[in-house]
């Protein structure tokens, strides 16, 4: 695996994905804030959560870049559309499988069934993260498509 490629393009892809998600939040397309969601796993402090979450989000970006790179290496080819296809699968997995399961993993997230408790007061994302805005699935899919396309375009096979 081309570790420098993973580091560099994983970072660039995560920057683009984060910018797109933040932009969609600013434009009122979705409320989802990944750094806040991840950071509140570690602290209830809103400001600190965003900072920690930002770090975790970038770490995730590199981890997923390694997975993408592993797929490219196994196929012996890396193209924008292959990257985009993995991004699409990645996004669908996040929306359909990971998000609904999040209340079980996140120490501060309430569940749809039980509602808030003294320790769990964050709104659960629901199926396809629709609780975070009706257009959230679209923005998540577009952001991950771009992330994958960047990796597929610029990653050089070893």
């Amino acid at each position: 695996m081309n570790k420098r490629g993973v580091s560099l393009w994983g970072f660039v892809g995560t920057v683009v994905l984060t910018t797109l998600m933040a932009g969609s939040q600013g434009l009122g397309l979705s409320r989802i804030n990944f750094p806040f969601m991840l950071g509140t796993m570690f602290t209830p402090n809103r400001d600190r959560a965003k900072l920690i979450g930002f770090g975790v989000h970038f770490l995730n970006g590199w981890i997923f870049a390694s997975v993408y790179a592993a797929a490219f290496e196994s196929w012996r080819r890396a193209t924008w559309w292959l990257g985009g296809a993995i991004g699409l699968v990645h996004a669908l997995y996040v929306l359909v499988a990971a998000m609904p399961a999040l209340p079980a993993m996140h120490p501060r997230m309430a569940s749809e069934q039980d509602g808030p408790t003294p320790t769990k007061q964050l709104e659960p994302p629901g199926f396809m993260a629709l609780n975070y805005g009706r257009r959230t699935p679209i923005t998540v899919i577009v952001a991950h498509l771009l992330y994958g396309a960047i990796l597929g375009t610029f990653y050089r096979l070893k």
């Binding site: 409320r31 804030n33 600190r48 069934q113 509602g115 408790t117 007061q121 709104e123 975070y132």
Partner: protein, 628 residues
């Protein structure tokens, strides 16, 4: 005794039947009937979520009140902005506590807190009271009727332009009106409590606040936060209650993230019922700068004063070296005025306006206000960096270049530009303060130019702004009329209050513009480009108190001040204007400038009363006969 209200009462309560709650980012008006009739989120100048105050039918409201006949008593919990409304009905009594939750930085680190929360607590006091609840959000000034989604333990949610509005209620609510509103009833018995929490989130995951004990905890934290803030008030004079209430009202109108202070949290509450003088005051007027800073510093709110200075210097850089009349809470200078024809306006007072075209006016007095405000920062030990020094010099040069021009003046008339005496005086103030700061070594400015122009301005004011025949400074150069802005001349140090010219001006203004201690801003026949009809101005009435005090009549001023205080509503809030016939509040509500006037008048009175007390005390050094 009962009733003074019923659930069928008039659809537009008098303006002074409202009280304000807020979280230093936005604020809402709650009527004596327990109806939240105005709320803009996430900030003061955002489109409204509830606007029944501007259109009872289509504006949207959030109502919690008894069914049938009831009587209301109301107050803020002491030294807080937590509103307590007691409803007494033939079957019992209950209290409704309304607040927007706030927390200390320490609490924010320890707990997950919603971005914005309106928290309402019902508590039974006696017997049993049947309560009705109506939740009818109409975002975007009533133009949107969102679908409400019942999500069980996660509350009733709707999406508002990509953001989320969620109501959690311990009282079961049913969706009505095609799922676009919700309502319910509850019986509250003595000792019982019920909580309702309305939260607004721009980001997800949103915090879903707990009700019950946890909500009580948030109320306690909010009460503690306000009390700690109010207890910092340094004023200890005889009007402490009114001064602290005014300070608390100002704090509610401060946008904490930037330090800006809005003129009022409302738009288009009319200056005459049914009239067209309906303006959007949810912006920050530079005119308020110097009086605001005086009030904040003197009351010991240094942090707020410095945040305000920070906003002032930041906002004005965008249009430097020219100054605009108003900016938004982050310093945005373009605030075009628009009408909202779909709203009927308060009691039919059309048009409802958002934005404010005063932004395009030339009002030369703002230069003096800003520069005079910055001297207060220096007086308290602040120092300027080189950029600020250069910026102030630039403002001074603009004054030198433009003071000869006519302008719209302090009252923002729409009948053209004139040589307003008040504007010229503030141009003099601008240059005088810059020269003072230069001489004290705080600034490097074009001092020779400024001295020359300052002296010319004074010469011109004394020659053309004072009318010997009527014995008064005049509203405009070579004019015959007066206006209340002339009362501020001694407040800015342009002239001593005891100067014969000022004393006679003050007397003439009282003769012509005052009624029962209430002062109109100018004579009713004055053409300001709008149909006539408005009340007396709260701020002018408090300026009159200060002017009389500085003229040496402390007793008279004290009496006048005490006559003004009862014009506040039952919870101590003042609107922009007061109807001298009925005492009713008119115009946007509450109005920061009026409360600033109250604080400054109380401070001036306290200063002179103290001086008098010292003067009356026999001294070893000064022969007592010299004091007569």
């Amino acid at each position: 005794m009962l009733p003074d209200r019923t659930s069928e009462s008039a659809i537009y309560p008098p303006i002074d039947h409202y009280a304000l709650i807020g979280d230093c980012r936005s604020a809402g008006l709650v009527s004596r009937d327990g109806s939240l009739d105005w709320l803009c989120l996430p900030r003061f100048d955002s489109p409204s979520i509830f606007a029944a105050v501007l259109d009872a039918e289509t504006g949207g409201r959030y109502l919690v009140r008894p069914i049938g006949e009831f009587r209301t008593e109301r107050r803020y919990l002491a030294n807080t902005n937590v509103l307590e409304t007691v409803f007494r009905t033939p079957t019992g009594a209950c209290v409704l506590r309304d607040l927007m939750s706030v927390s200390s930085e320490e609490d924010k680190r320890a707990y997950l807190t919603p971005e914005h929360e309106v928290l309402r607590q019902l508590e039974g006091l006696e017997g049993e009271v049947e309560i009705e609840i109506l939740y009818d959000p109409r975002p975007d000034y009533g133009r949107v009727r969102p679908l409400l989604e019942q999500r069980g333990p996660l509350g009733l949610r709707c999406e508002v332009d990509g953001t989320s509005l969620t109501l959690h209620s311990e009282v079961p609510l049913e969706l009505t009106d095609g799922d676009r509103s919700a309502s319910g009833t509850a019986r509250i018995r003595s000792g019982e409590e019920a909580y309702l929490s309305l939260t607004y989130s721009m980001e997800a995951p949103a915090v879903v606040p707990l009700l019950g004990e946890a909500a009580r905890g948030r109320i306690e934290r909010t009460v503690r936060w306000w009390r700690e803030w109010a207890n910092r008030c340094a004023y200890e004079g005889p009007y402490r209650d009114a001064v602290v209430r005014s300070a608390l009202a100002l704090k509610l109108m401060t946008y904490a993230p930037s330090g800006a202070l809005v003129a009022a949290p409302t738009t288009s509450l009319p200056e005459t019922i049914g009239g067209v003088r309906n303006w959007d005051y949810r912006y920050c007027w530079l005119r308020d700068a110097s009086f605001t800073l005086r009030a904040l510093y003197a009351l010991g709110y240094r942090e707020e004063a410095e945040a305000y200075i920070g906003w002032l210097l930041h906002a004005t850089r965008l249009t430097w070296p020219e100054l605009q009349v108003l900016y938004d809470i982050f310093g945005e200078a373009k605030l075009p005025e628009r009408e909202l024809p779909h709203l009927e306006g308060y009691a039919g007072s059309r048009p409802v306006r958002i934005g404010n075209d005063a932004q395009g006016q030339l009002q030369l007095d703002v230069y003096g206000e800003v520069i005079n405000g910055t001297t207060r920062f220096l007086d308290r030990g602040g120092r300027f960096d080189r950029d600020t020094s250069r910026m102030l010099d630039g403002l001074g040069r603009t004054v030198c270049r433009r003071w000869r021009e006519p302008d719209e003046g302090i009252w923002e008339g729409r009948s053209g530009r004139f040589h307003n005496t008040h504007s010229k005086v503030l141009c003099w103030v601008a240059l005088d303060r810059l020269i003072e700061m230069h001489e004290a070594g705080y600034l490097e400015v074009s001092v020779d130019l400024f001295r020359k122009e300052r002296d010319e301005i004074r010469k011109e004011i004394e020659a053309r702004g004072y009318n010997e025949r009527i014995g008064s400074y005049t509203r405009t150069f070579d004019g015959e009329e007066m206006d209340a802005s002339l009362l501020t001349l001694p407040l800015y140090g342009y002239i001593e209050g005891t100067n014969p010219r000022m004393r006679s001006t003050c007397a003439r203004i009282h003769e012509k513009l005052a009624r029962d201690g209430l002062v109109y801003r100018y004579e009713t026949g004055t053409d300001d480009g709008l149909p006539p009809g408005e009340g007396a101005f709260g701020i002018c009435s408090f300026w009159a108190v200060e002017c009389v005090t500085r003229g040496g009549n402390v007793e008279g001023a004290t009496y006048a001040f005490e006559q003004l205080l009862p014009y506040a509503n039952d919870v101590g809030l003042f609107a922009e204007e007061i109807d001298p016939d009925t005492g009713a509040a008119l115009g946007n509500f509450p109005q920061a400038f009026t409360h600033i006037g109250l604080i400054n008048a109380a401070l001036t009175l306290a200063g002179y009363q103290e001086e008098n007390a010292v003067a009356e005390r026999p001294s070893k050094d000064i022969p007592t006969e010299d004091l007569t």
